[in-house]
């Protein structure tokens, strides 16, 4: 159970921290930190087994028919990421405590951060690709929330939307790719997929699948040309940037590359796409980073560049390159997180991030400056620091590739150039900010930050140093374990060491460092050159594309959805007509072999009345009240027909629904014209008659064909099992509360949602309230006729008794929660009619929303309750008790479920009708209610 608990604990942390609003900041931070610390301890406990080469797996069956399980898998790669996510997460949470100002809501940030952590943990330990995708999307959503944390700033909102759009679109591509992959392999299980390398490579869909999955990875990892969302995401609070853009969000993309490396890599198309994308991103990011005046902008582009480096390493056709990529993932996370945090301190203490203003901070914050300088040096790849080690490995690997054929020697040169730019922007980060003269009108007088704000940076910088000096001591185990996972067991001999002797990579490093310093000293010329380049504003282009897409789809939607209800119904009926008539034309005989029952007088009369009612409803539709009365005839005759043909449950339901509908229609009619104008042209009328006649003929034919054939239905099963399986003799009710209880639960939820929707839509709806009826008569003066009021009041207990009776007998005889609920609702509606809303409001202080919630909760918990007895969701329990004097009675958990149904129905119906009635409750007639 341990693996499941890792994301679960983090999710719990999200909920807990969202509730710490009333606590002090320290308490809130402490509580929030608790959960990831527990998760970290659990992971440490698991680590030795993983280092020993085990893969820890956990599977819970979810939807076995679709091959979707809740499955977790912890191998070396996952372990590495879990460590990174948790450790840097803990540091970021600690850091955010000091970063946020007192105006910012701390629980909100923590809740989002923990949610994001959950999503990331879920990605890295998923053993089912669909589940992996689910968590992938969750990172997109939670990062949207994090980036838009300062939602009052427009750039935060825009940045969040951009990130969501790009990564969300990539997520869709990824889903398509994963579905194809699952189809190729025949399983969504990651173990199976990783073991099916040959099947995947040989399959015709390999290229499409690969490109779709890479699209997902590249958008997430901000690879060129999808990189543009990342700089805009810098509008987030700095702790968020430190977390998202060092260890997590963007690393999810490279994680995906590493995860599917054993299954997808090894072909030419993989190497070409991945390495060229990585190379382009590496160069582009490194170049642009130098020219950013915003500290976070510089870090953003440097992040893009480093991600390009990692991607490029995955695209090089050597096993050592993959090892180097994993190593750089670790190193980049440590130095980039500390740099972001240092930037946050600078921003926090000076009030700006503009490097043209920030100068000479060394004097004001020497301690922070030292930390930042070490981290920046690591970013540049200076020896004795971890960044140097992985960069050396990178340089070494660029020498062992044949990407460009005979021109492959270009790659090391380009890599060295990118390295030089990295040194240059790192030098700018150090020199421009901490030295280079005096600060220029800073908003705040800079000073050292609070003592503990530096702790997370100290930890990370210490890591940079220790890994840089004694790499084997720290990273050997985890690096080996992760490499085993990525390379599928066979790990090449590698030696992470500070000193490899004088060789070509060392020379490349030396060139990069000296070249970078040269670039930095000559930056004036470079800036001039850069400014003369045509500037391409990614945001403007993005907005333009987005706007065009939205306009296009809007046009398409408007073309289909023009707001005419007649049109929708026409189209819908035509489709029904088409599909329903199709099988009829394929049949040779309409009638089947069964004999027809002879018609008797009763049935003939009932049918005649039904038809008269239906025709009259249509004929009088201009005069709406009369049409409504005719509709009541139809409802009455239908329920009598149900009674006649032995369906008392249906009859009861039909009756109650009928009356509630009539009342609802009358409530609405009040606000509508009393007469509908005759504006349809003759052609339209002809068309409508044609469609309705056609549909009537088709439906009647289907019914006829159906009843004249022997029907082999599922009802035999229900009849045989209702008593033994559900404990009731009323099969209809047992189906509702037991066999199909899950459907019923869904239905009452829908009912509740509909009621809430109506309540919300009607709130503050301005409506013209007519002061006279259609023939110009003013309304009668007497609002609540006294006789009606007093008799209605005395009918209420009687009606409640009836509904109680119908409810109780429901399990064995016609009745049940739904009908009883409607009867109760009608009884209360009568009080509303007789006494008015205000009278009820004085006497019945019940909040219908709470009633609906209570009803659904009761039904849900009855279903969940069966879990505690080790049974599947919604198993009915029933037992017979022999009580003296009363006799044998049955108690069934289905009865409690039915109470939930009852309460929801009462609450929803009353809420709908009462809020419609409330529209006019306090208003004098003839005025527009605002």
């Amino acid at each position: 159970m341990t693996l499941l608990w890792i994301p679960l604990i983090s999710l719990l942390g999200s909920i807990i921290s969202s509730m710490t609003g009333k606590l002090t900041r320290n308490q809130s931070t402490g509580l929030t930190l608790l959960m990831p610390v527990i998760a970290l301890l659990m992971t440490i406990n698991l680590a030795p087994a993983v280092f020993a080469g085990d893969v820890i797996r956990e599977t819970f069956t979810w939807i076995p028919l679709l091959g979707i399980d809740i499955a977790f898998r912890l191998d070396g790669l996952a372990l590495l990421f879990v460590f990174m996510i948790l450790v840097i997460g803990i540091l970021v949470i600690f850091y955010a405590r000091y970063y946020l100002s007192s105006n910012d809501s701390m629980p909100k940030l923590y809740a989002y951060l923990m949610l994001f952590m959950t999503a990331m943990l879920g990605i890295v330990i998923s053993n089912n690709v669909i589940q992996l995708w689910f968590f992938w999307e969750l990172t997109s959503i939670s990062s949207f929330l994090l980036i838009s944390y300062w939602w009052h700033k427009s750039e935060a909102r825009e940045g969040a939307i951009m990130a969501l759009t790009v990564t969300g679109a990539g997520g869709l591509a990824l889903l398509a790719g994963l579905l194809l992959l699952g189809d190729i392999v025949g399983s969504y299980n990651l173990d199976v997929i990783l073991a099916s390398r040959d099947i995947i490579h040989a399959h015709a869909w390999y290229e499409v699948t690969l490109i779709l999955i890479l699209l997902g990875a590249f958008t997430k990892s901000a690879q060129f040309p999808f990189h543009f969302w990342l700089p805009h995401a810098m509008a987030a609070p700095t702790p968020v940037s430190a977390y998202l853009h060092s260890a997590t969000m963007v690393k999810a993309g490279v994680f995906l590359l590493a995860r599917f490396y054993p299954a997808l890599a090894g072909t030419d198309i993989w190497f070409i796409i991945v390495s060229f994308t990585g190379l382009a991103t590496l160069l582009f990011g490194a170049y642009v980073a130098l020219f950013k005046h915003d500290l976070k902008g510089l870090l953003a582009y440097s992040t893009i560049s480093h991600l390009g480096l990692i991607t490029l390493l995955f695209g090089l056709d050597t096993k050592l390159a993959a090892v180097a990529a994993i190593f750089h993932i670790i190193n980049h996370a440590t130095f980039k997180a500390s740099l972001f945090m240092a930037t946050g301190i600078i921003d926090h203490e000076t009030g700006t991030r503009d490097m043209r203003k920030l100068n000479g901070l060394w004097r004001f914050m020497p301690y922070t400056a030292t930390l930042a300088m070490v981290a920046a040096a690591s970013m540049a790849g200076v020896p004795l620091l971890n960044g140097f080690l992985s960069k050396e490995m990178f340089f070494a690997e660029t020498l062992h590739q044949q990407l460009l054929g005979s021109m492959s020697w270009l790659i090391p040169i380009l890599a060295t150039i990118a390295g030089a730019f990295a040194v240059a922007y790192s030098a700018r980060f150090i020199h421009d900010v901490f030295f280079n003269g005096d600060p220029i009108d800073l908003p705040k007088q800079p000073s050292e930050p609070p003592r503990y704000m530096r702790v997370p940076i100290e930890v990370l910088v210490a890591l940079c140093l220790v890994v840089g000096v004694v790499p084997n001591f720290i990273v050997d185990d985890i690096l080996t374990a992760a490499s085993v996972a990525v390379l599928g067991g066979v790990v090449p001999e590698f030696k992470v060491a500070l000193w490899h002797g004088f060789n070509l990579p060392l020379m490349m490093s030396a060139i990069a460092v000296s070249g970078g310093l040269l670039l930095y000293t000559q930056r004036r010329h470079l800036f001039k050159f850069h400014d003369s380049l045509p500037s391409l504003n990614a945001k403007k282009a993005f907005d333009k594309i987005l706007f065009a897409v939205m306009k296009w789809s809007e046009g398409k939607i408007n073309a289909i959805e023009n707001g005419s209800l007649q049109r929708y119904i026409t189209l819908m009926l035509l489709v029904v007509l088409l599909f329903a008539s199709w099988p009829l034309f394929e049949m040779s005989h309409l009638g089947g072999e069964k004999q027809l029952t002879p018609i008797d007088v009763h049935n003939a009369m009932g049918a005649a009345l039904l038809m008269i009612g239906a025709f009259s409803t249509v004929i009088w539709y201009h005069s709406r009240v009369i049409s409504l009365l005719m509709l009541s005839v139809v409802g009455l005759m239908v329920s009598i027909a149900f009674t006649r043909f032995s369906a008392p449950d249906l009859a009861l339901t039909q009756l109650t629904v009928e009356v509630v509908t009539v009342i609802l229609l009358m409530l609405a009619l009040f606000f509508l014209p009393q007469h509908s104008p005759r504006e349809s042209s003759s052609m339209r009328v002809l068309r409508d008659i044609g469609i309705s006649t056609g549909l009537g003929i088709v439906i009647a034919s289907i019914c006829y064909a159906l009843v004249t054939r022997p029907l082999d239905s599922i009802s035999e099963f229900f009849l045989a099992n209702a008593k033994t399986g559900g404990g009731g003799t009323n099969v209809v009710n047992v189906i509702l509360v037991d066999f199909r209880g899950f459907d019923t639960l869904g239905e009452i939820c829908v009912l509740g949602i509909a009621a809430l929707g109506i309540y919300k839509l009607l709130a503050n709806l301005p409506l013209l309230i007519p002061d006279r009826d259609s023939e110009g008569r003013p309304w009668a003066k007497e609002r609540y006729p006294m006789l009606l009021a007093s008799i209605s009041q005395s009918l209420l207990p009687l009606a409640l008794l009836v509904s109680f009776y119908i409810f109780l007998r429901g399990h064995n005889l016609p009745g049940g929660g739904f009908i009883a609920g409607l009867v109760t609702a009608v009884a209360f509606i009568l009080q509303y009619i007789a006494h008015g809303s205000n009278w009820i409001a004085e006497r019945l202080t019940i909040n219908y929303r709470k009633i609906i919630a209570a009803g659904i909760a009761i039904a849900l918990f009855t279903g969940v309750g069966s879990w505690f007895f080790g049974r599947p969701f919604m198993t009915t329990w029933f037992e017979y008790f022999d009580i003296p004097l009363i006799g044998e009675i049955e108690l069934a958990s289905a009865l409690i479920f039915d109470i939930g149904v009852y309460i929801t129905v009462v609450g929803s119906t009353l809420m709908i009708l009462a809020s419609l009635g409330q529209l006019t409750a306090d208003e004098p007639k003839g005025e527009v209610k605002i």
Binding site: A780, K781, L788, I791, L795, L798, V802
Partner: protein, 110 residues
């Protein structure tokens, strides 16, 4: 014995119900038409329900008194429905023939 009682009650009920509906069709104005259904039919229903009560009490185990509930409902509500309908008729100022009495007693409620 019981069959006789049931038959007679049924016939009485049927007659009243039919008479009420004939009144609904034949009477010349709304105020008169109202009499049939509200009075005759309700009485017919009471008789019919009594018949059903006797029938089920004799044919099935135990005394059947559920029909009283329906009778109670009908007897309680019939006057109120009639009252509400006549109110709306007066509100609509429906025409009446000369023989209809008591039209002067109606106060204009507008």
């Amino acid at each position: 014995m019981f069959e006789w009682i049931i038959s007679i009650l049924l016939l009485i009920g049927g007659c009243f119900i039919l008479v009420g509906s004939i009144g609904l069709v034949k009477m010349p104005d709304f105020y008169m038409r109202l009499h049939g259904p509200t009075k005759a039919t309700t009485l017919g229903m009471a008789s019919l329900l009594t018949a059903a009560m006797v029938f089920f009490s004799t044919t099935q185990a135990g005394l059947s008194i559920k029909e009283i509930l329906i009778s109670l409902f009908l007897l309680l509500t019939a006057p109120i429905s009639g009252y509400m309908m006549i109110k709306s008729a007066i509100h609509h100022k429906l025409d009446c023939i000369e023989r209809t009495k008591g039209i002067d007693n109606i106060e204009d409620d507008v």
